[in-house]
């Protein structure tokens, strides 16, 4: 295809250049009933899973239909969404922080037709395009990262395991039978571009082998001091090695100090870390962001490692499903997963879920570790 210019002139990059204009202003995109009632909402109610009504002081009612989506989406899919929004919603739609799509209308009869239309649309492979749900005391969409689709440091994929977990948990996306919301997040490495560290259930990709050193390239590709400084456990040091008969500046890794965070690889591409045999996922539970009832909490690791098993990560989905079922059967109304685990005690969490507690699950990283040990004679047999 021939190159088509936008009007940009590479000879004169500053000519007509527009910069630093920021995003479009939010209120350009408000549906009229949102613009009219902003700041004057009285209350809301979830009419059924995935359908909300917000009632304003003016008496106006706005119905919202929330739909799940794979956050990796095509423009063909986006255009279909636009067609739907044009037909039913006056040409407006919005996305939620958790990758859901929201279609809004102020008319009850439109709501009915909109729901039916959304529910009827499927991809050629048979999955729903716009499953309605993700509200209240259920499981909503998973916040996640790029994984093998687009990232250089992942220890697992993201879109694939998310699809596998949401397929398994789909019934709970479309109902509200749990004691409280269960927020699942997935990060494909411990950088955790997603609130995995504060989720009810967090799936996180972990490496388990120290990086290799590409001596031929280390000095050419990297600022070696930056790689050394990047290591949180002082496992990376500069060294000179014999490489093909020549002394070269390179890097040495003290394997027994390495906890495989991959930060050195981010700083230095000559330290590749990913490994098909070593990589996999840890499962964390009991975190939350909300201040409701108890303060926000970090997620805790309850399964140290599950090998990557594409395409459906069966062991991971089994554990997630199992944890949710045990939680659903035992927690009190309003109790988040972490609140329940704290009430019954983590030793009880392990006995009741049957998850095996191993030495991997005792914290030994930095000073907060001590505060997670048990300084008490109070415990359950």
């Amino acid at each position: 295809m021939a190159f088509i210019s936008s009007g940009y002139n590479p000879e004169k990059p500053m000519e007509n250049r527009i910069t630093d204009i920021g995003p479009r202003k939010y209120d350009e995109f408000y549906p009229p009933f949102i613009a009219k009632n902003k700041g004057k909402w009285l209350y809301h109610e979830i009419l059924e899973p995935g359908v909300l009504v917000h009632v304003a002081e003016s008496g106006d009612k706005v119905y919202t239909v929330r739909c799940g989506a794979a956050r990796l989406m095509s423009i063909t899919h986006l255009r279909e969404m636009c067609d739907i929004a044009d037909k039913y919603c006056g040409g407006y739609l919005r996305f939620t922080t958790r990758n859901n799509i929201e279609f809004m209308t102020d008319k009850e009869d439109v709501l009915k037709a909109l729901k039916a239309d959304l529910a009827s649309r499927k991809f050629s492979g048979g999955s729903f395009k716009f499953p309605i749900g993700g509200t209240g005391a259920g499981i909503t969409n998973i916040v996640h990262t790029q994984g093998w689709v687009h990232c250089h440091t992942p220890a697992t994929d993201a879109s694939g395991p998310v699809k596998a977990v949401m397929d398994e948990m789909f019934a709970d996306f479309q109902q509200m039978r749990l004691p409280a919301p269960v927020r699942i997040s997935l990060a494909c490495c411990i950088n955790m571009c997603g609130a995995v560290h504060c989720s009810d259930i967090g799936l996180v990709g972990i490496h388990r082998k120290p990086p290799m050193v590409d001596h031929e390239w280390a000095d050419r590709l990297c600022e070696i001091p930056l790689a050394v400084a990047s290591c949180p456990t002082a496992a990376v040091r500069p060294t000179k090695v014999e490489y093909k008969g020549e002394k070269v500046n390179s890097i040495a890794i003290k394997n027994d100090r390495c906890m495989y965070c991959g930060n050195c690889y981010t700083m230095c591409p000559a330290l590749p870390i990913s490994d098909g045999q070593g990589d996999g996922m840890a499962i964390m539970v009991g975190g939350k962001v909300s201040n409701r009832i108890s303060m926000p909490k970090f997620s805790k690791v309850v399964v140290a490692y599950i090998a990557n098993d594409p395409p459906r990560w069966k062991k991971v989905t089994d554990v997630v499903k199992h944890i949710v079922e045990v939680y659903a059967a035992n927690a009190k109304k309003y109790e988040r997963l972490g609140e329940w685990a704290e009430r019954i005690g983590w030793e009880r969490f392990f006995s009741i879920t049957g998850l095996k507690f191993t030495y991997h699950l005792i914290d030994d990283f930095r000073e907060p570790a001590y505060y997670t040990w048990r300084q008490s004679t109070q415990f359950k047999f």
């Binding site: 088509i4 630093d20 949102i34 917000h54 919005r94 689709v149 955790m192 201040n291 594409p310």
Partner: protein, 437 residues
């Protein structure tokens, strides 16, 4: 006919949840057919090659993407993530596959007109694949080549009136909950504050000058729907100072079963009749509520605004009228020194245009962090290394009991020299005249 056989990925087409594999295939078929006669500026088969390289990863269980190279648009140091495939011969369509981050409108409302323009642009100049949205909040345009970057930027700024987001060691694209636009809990206009600060700090957003990334997030209430206090270096979380508003008639309606408790969020199971004593009063973390059988009372002075009672009875209880926000700083994910939650810095601040009081705090923190923060050290780590007291000094705030959950566990206190009479320079001779060696 698919370009690459993808038997593993094909297994992700079944099941009810929307399949990204089906969607990518849909885009591949659309580009192959090209019904709109689009003059694709990057390889027509890039979605096929993306599936191909992903299938390879599914077989080998390792990624095939290399480090980002330094690509971007003139004058900006962020907004574009260079991405190259490490098997370019097998998958030429994605050999160069850079990400472009576009700053989303606060609250993520869109007109279809805007989205269609974006689709048209990305149809011609990119892969046709996106993330709606990235974890930080940007619109993520997934996959294009270097010669298209300036063209995309020109069209985004000239035709769509919008700009790139952040990446690298700069201010990352700020994000807000939908706030007052559709939520009765919002204590301030999160979208407006997000927009205004994004505009005011365009230089910090586009030109990396920080030790590491810096995130703003704006939550309208302590429910925290954008995870501000878990995920942002500077979290502004709505709160109020006065009393929870009570509509006693509506409380009775909840007790009488006329209104669904918790806004209907528990309707999927029979939890029994709503029990205001057990579900509201007894679950209150500060025990500041009471129910005498006909009237609900709240000792607001003891309330910590956890939102539970309001969430559970939204038609009866409302946030107070003296509204503002708490500011918490230093949250981050685990890399490197472990995960951190935001720590309370400013208990209450009024939030209104032009946000000068808050901007003053932000700028004091930035000046300090840029001076004393180490390379790749998040603000939370700098605070831990140099102390919370130092942060208070930088911002010019007095220490208050609300800054801690509990006082320190040791008496290893760094006193300021001027607090101690006579200071630290002492006369050894005089000491020896009182004490023999």
């Amino acid at each position: 006919m698919a370009k690459h056989a993808t038997p593993k990925l094909d297994q992700l087409e079944s099941g009810p949840w929307p399949s990204f594999v089906s969607d990518i295939k849909q885009e591949a078929a659309y580009r192959a057919a090209n019904p709109n006669k689009v003059e694709f500026q990057i390889p027509v088969d890039c979605p096929d090659d993306l599936l191909g390289v992903l299938e390879l990863s599914y077989n080998e269980r390792e990624t095939h993407w290399k480090h980002g190279g330094i690509v971007g648009v003139f004058g900006y140091g962020g907004g574009v993530i260079g991405r190259y495939c490490d098997q370019p011969e097998k998958f030429p369509g994605v050999a160069h596959f850079h990400t472009v981050r576009v700053n989303q409108p606060a609250g993520k409302y869109y007109t279809t007109k805007f989205l269609r323009e974006l689709c048209d642009l990305w149809d011609m100049r990119g892969s046709g694949l996106t993330n709606m949205h990235g974890s930080t909040g940007d619109i993520v345009l997934l996959g294009t080549q270097t010669p298209q970057l300036e063209e995309l930027f020109f069209e985004l700024t000239h035709k769509m009136g919008t700009d790139l987001g952040g990446s690298g060691s700069n201010l990352r694209t700020p994000a807000a909950c939908l706030g007052q636009s559709r939520c009765e809990y919002a204590c301030y206009d999160t979208q407006d504050m997000c927009y205004q600060l994004t505009m005011d700090y365009q230089d910090e957003l586009h030109r990396p000058a920080f030790p590491y990334k810096f995130k703003f997030k704006f939550d309208g209430c302590p429910n925290g729907c954008v995870a501000a206090m878990a995920r942002s270096d500077f979290a502004v979380v709505g709160t109020w100072k006065d009393d929870i508003r009570i509509d006693h008639a509506a409380v009775s309606a909840y007790v009488g079963g006329e209104f669904a408790p918790n806004a209907g969020a528990h309707s999927g199971r029979d939890w029994g009749k709503f029990d205001i004593q057990a579900e509201i009063v007894d679950r209150c973390p500060t025990q500041c509520m009471s129910w005498n059988g006909s009237k609900l009372s709240i000792n607001n002075k003891e309330c910590t605004r956890c939102m539970h009672c309001i969430n559970a009875m939204p038609r009866a209880l409302g946030i107070g009228n003296e509204r503002g926000a708490s500011i918490l700083v230093g949250a981050k994910a685990p890399v490197l020194d472990g995960a951190q939650m935001g720590s309370l810095l400013v208990p209450f601040v009024e939030v209104s245009q032009p946000y000068d009081e808050i901007k003053e705090i932000i700028e004091k923190i930035w000046d300090w962090w840029m001076e004393d923060g180490k390379n790749r050290e998040r603000l939370g780590e700098t605070i831990r290394r140099l102390s919370f007291q130092r942060l208070l000094e930088v911002v010019g705030l007095e220490a208050q009991a609300v800054h801690v959950k509990e006082p320190r566990h040791n008496p290893y206190i760094f006193f300021n020299e001027d607090e101690v009479p006579g200071g630290w320079e002492r006369d050894l001779e005089a000491y020896r005249s009182r004490h023999q060696r």
